[in-house]
């Protein structure tokens, strides 16, 4: 399941919705990404997450389908926020559930790694010296490349 939204999300409620009443799920692995304070003591840095409506949902759906094809998963969920966010705010939630923990860990990790290099989001950071667009990280490309078959 995919959601792209401005509002915050409730990890516990989302997890309960995925897992509740099912008795064949042994493992629930979740990842929450938070806004870090990049200004490092020089004052809190807010950011604005821009995205490409339509393509974002498409890309997230594509990587979710890929994860479900690769691993024996019970449920998957990706929620990604856009709009203005403050340090400490939640940005993204990824949950993968499975009878077995290895599949849940691998799928959750795969989803966030791929999302980072494929879903069309961009971050405009407000630092003490003005706004700057966050550069994509080479380490993110490397993290995603690990999952290439």
């Amino acid at each position: 399941m995919i959601r792209v939204q401005r509002e915050d999300f409730d990890t516990a409620a989302e997890t309960e919705r995925l897992v509740g009443g099912q008795h064949d799920i042994g493992a629930v692995v979740s990842f929450v990404g938070l806004v870090r304070d990049m200004a490092e003591g020089a004052g809190a840095s807010s950011m604005t997450l821009e995205h490409y409506p339509g393509m974002t949902e498409r890309e997230l759906g594509r990587i979710e389908a890929e994860a479900r094809a690769r691993w024996p998963l019970s449920e998957t969920l990706i929620i990604h926020r856009f709009g203005r966010l403050e340090p400490g705010d939640r940005i993204v939630l990824v949950i993968a559930t499975s009878p077995h923990r290895a599949a849940a860990f691998e799928a959750c990790w795969f989803l966030i790694d791929w999302l980072k290099t494929s879903a069309p989001f961009w971050k405009l950071e407000e630092g003490p010296e003005g706004s700057t667009w966050v550069d994509a990280k080479g380490t993110d490309d490397e993290a995603a490349a690990r999952w290439q078959k």
């Binding site: 990404g33 997450l49 821009e50 995205h51 490409y52 339509g54 393509m55 498409r58 890309e59 990604h80 940005i91 993204v92 966030i112 999302l115 980072k116 290099t117 494929s118 879903a119 069309p120 989001f121 961009w122 971050k123 405009l124 667009w133 966050v134 550069d135 994509a136 990280k137 993110d140």
Partner: protein
């Protein structure tokens, strides 16, 4: 053709989207980007770092050799930084 711009490419071009008719002879993404860069200083600045320009055609990531047609939705943006 519908063109969409995001992040600093949008900021430098100055508009988020526009409708354009493709000039004759422009049939691939790299030709489209070259032509757009010639449309004015904002476009030129936005597309100067050609290695940092990513392209989606009809909401799918594509390479520079991907074909473009007049009915396409083409988006130009920097490398993505979600998550």
């Amino acid at each position: 053709m519908k063109l969409l711009y995001f992040a600093w490419i949008r900021a430098r071009i100055g508009i988020p989207e526009e409708d354009l008719s493709l000039p004759a002879g422009i049939v691939r993404v790299d030709q489209l980007v070259d032509w757009l860069a010639s449309r004015g200083p904002g476009y030129a600045a936005a597309l100067a770092e050609r290695g940092s320009v990513r392209v989606a055609v009809n909401q799918e990531h594509v390479g520079l050799d991907h074909p473009v047609r007049d009915g396409d939705e083409v988006a130009l943006f920097p490398p993505v930084t979600g998550g």
